[in-house]
Amino acid sequence: MEQFVDNLALGFSTALSLKNIGLCFLGCLVGTLIGVLPGVGPIATIAMLLPVTFGIDPTGALIMLAGIYYGAQYGGSTTAILVNIPGEATSVVTTLDGHQMARQGRAGVALGIAAIGSFIAGSIATLVIAALGAPLTKLALLFGPAEYFSLMVMGLVFAVVLARGSLPKAIAMIVVGLLLSTVGTDLETGQERLTFGIAELSDGVDFAVLAMGIFGFAEIIRNLENPETRDVVRGKIGRLLPSKEDFKQALPPILRGTGLGAVLGILPGNGAVLGPFASYTLEKKIAKEPSRFGRGAIEGIAGPEAANNAGAQTAFIPLLTLGIPPNAVMALMVGAMTIHGIIPGPQVVTKNPQLFWGMIASMWVGNLMLLIINLPLVGLWVRLLKVPYSLLYPAILLFCCIGIYSINNSTSDVIFTAFFGLVGYALLKFGYEPAPLLLGFVLGKLMEEKLRQALILSRGSFATFVERPVSGGLLLVAAIMLVIALLPAIRKGRDEVFTE
């Protein structure tokens, strides 16, 4: 305990130096800005800003880059609520109820609860990292390929249960997502699959390209179709601070979401993406009136937003303790550390305690700053999004194109995005939800990799998935979820929930 306090004291004395506060603020501000603007994600931004950090000391550099990352998670929810475009996979869920609340004139409360939920989750997650960083990595080590595969099967089952509309359509979308993820070079043999001889497809379809296409571009085309029912909330934002009742309703989901998100975030392989989905499903399952979900339920924002932010922060645990990046953003953090001659790994805590604890403390400082930036400045962000459509559409498209282009400096990526925009529009027209497709795509690549690794390791025996206790348990949960969703009685209730 004493050591815990000593460590945090060292962290705060580092994080609260004038320079580091400034860098933290800069990172949070840039992060929120790029999070708000659809099309420019944290990955592209951090990659672009890496060279800038050359001149700064490593602790300051990492504090700033981390600020961009969790700032973008905050900012992403603003766009999700106001424009119905998820900046990232993790804010897909926020669009469901957040945007509905905004349409009901409660945009302010939705933004407020997202920010407050994220702050609470961020504060708790900071303590979790500080207290449990080292022991918790053992949890990740329990996970071999078989366990990962089963975890992702569970995630996809969650997605089916979560999806709006008909079950067959949701399953179809997941399968399309899985199929899309198999485009590209085969992991084991190096053969090209489904590339039709197009060289640009040899590394598969880029996540950002697909997401920006079927969400960003498609949304804009759909809005063009009916200019009168524009989705950008132009009306009153309303008051930002949630009422006492709102808060009472939102607090338990926030705490549950924090727990779920924190646990899932620790898992390498971008477990953080699952957090908001899992939290939303949980809240909907335990709600007294599940029918409110999808129509502006405050729990539907509070839980996933908390899970999102908690996961974004606990994702640092495998990086800081094992030196293994769980996702693309963390991989860039590894790059930033190596550029400064610090090789991430178990040695960081002992060799660079200032950096380790300073970065952890800065996360709490950053979360407080984000609350301060987001709540009073929300008007500014809104104004950014309130620009008339004639200006907003070209600007969003332009930013999307720049963002897409800057990821790989590839013009073909921009063309693919436009193509997926048309696909996404067609899907919307035929009543297919794109969210399960995206999730299927994100998990598909990893799932195939883990499936094949598990089978190579078991020398071809499928029994490995049920024989290993953790893996078997996860599959059991998935099976139970699926049965529940398919049971006629519950299915009827579910259809009532989703049919509008």
Binding site: A47, M48, L49, L50, P51, F54, A140, L141, L142, F143, G144, P145, T185, L187, E188, T189, G190, Q191, E192, A199, S202, D203, P268, G269, P318, L322, G323, I324, P325, A331, L332, V334, G335, A336, T338, I339, G341, I343, P344, G345, P346, Q347, V348, I402, G403, Y405, S406, N408, N409, K445, E449, R452, Q453, I456, L457, R459
Partner: protein, 324 residues
Amino acid sequence: MKSILSALGLAAVLAAGPAWAQSYPAKPITMIVPFAAGGPTDVIARIVADSMSKTLGQQIVVENVAGAGGTTGTTRAAQSAPDGYTIMMGHMGTHGAAPALYPNLKYDPTKDFEPIGMAAGTPILIVAKKNFPAKDLKEFLAKAKADGDKINEAHAGIGSVSHTTCLLLNAQAGLKPTQVPFRGTGPALNDLVSGQVDFMCDQIVNLVEQIKGGNIKAYAIATPERSPALPDVPTTKEAGLPEYQVSAWNAVFAPKGAPKDITAKLNDALGKALSDENTRKRLLDLGAVLPDKAGQTQEALGTFVAQEVARWTPVIKAAGAVAQ
């Protein structure tokens, strides 16, 4: 926003017209790194480019063009204008193993480039999970040979450094392990740390901290001398497999046809970078090995690339590994 600014900057540069060799460099130079930001080649490229920029008096901008095992960026570099304003950081994979791995490769490492000079090599280590029942390399090789395909080797994907360097090891030591492919070194290392797989070969940069932390054990380093970053790890020569000498080298290239005085100027700037105290220290801290004076010349690199292509082709062809 930054992209817009840099795009405008690029447009301004393009509008400035051709520069003359005498005044080279008159505008910023682009260095293509054919891998994602943050990887070992990227880190080395950025450290070297930083110092070369100071010598040349113009910024060297690192551009990451990742994809298809580095061959996407390398193809782009090979096809760009040979005016000295586009150079690249080539690598053991792109300029050694690629011709055998990619039958439809759109460039020839020996013919489509002007060698500028060797930058830094990163030695390869043979590592295993921490509870692997062998105390040294000899025991490891004996056990791995006896176990045949019961032993699991992790690698970071077809054509990756960890894949090709282990192919060489397997060929030289007569091992036939089951190969478990991962997407990238990180996930592969994760499963080595947690003991899901038995061993792998990889660059020292990726492994130092895990070895020091006792999460994995290192049997040997495939260089003539021990690395100051890991003084306790014996060389392959000491450990009984002297023929296994391999390093993931990184070297600077310009497109074929770049004027001689320009490539000489670039080679000179690279040489100055490698003798600069600060730059040396940053590279050595990574565990990298720097070329000596004789190894820094353009001619030495040209000869070396031809040797590497000749060395990797039979190993890869024999293993039947093809990436298209």
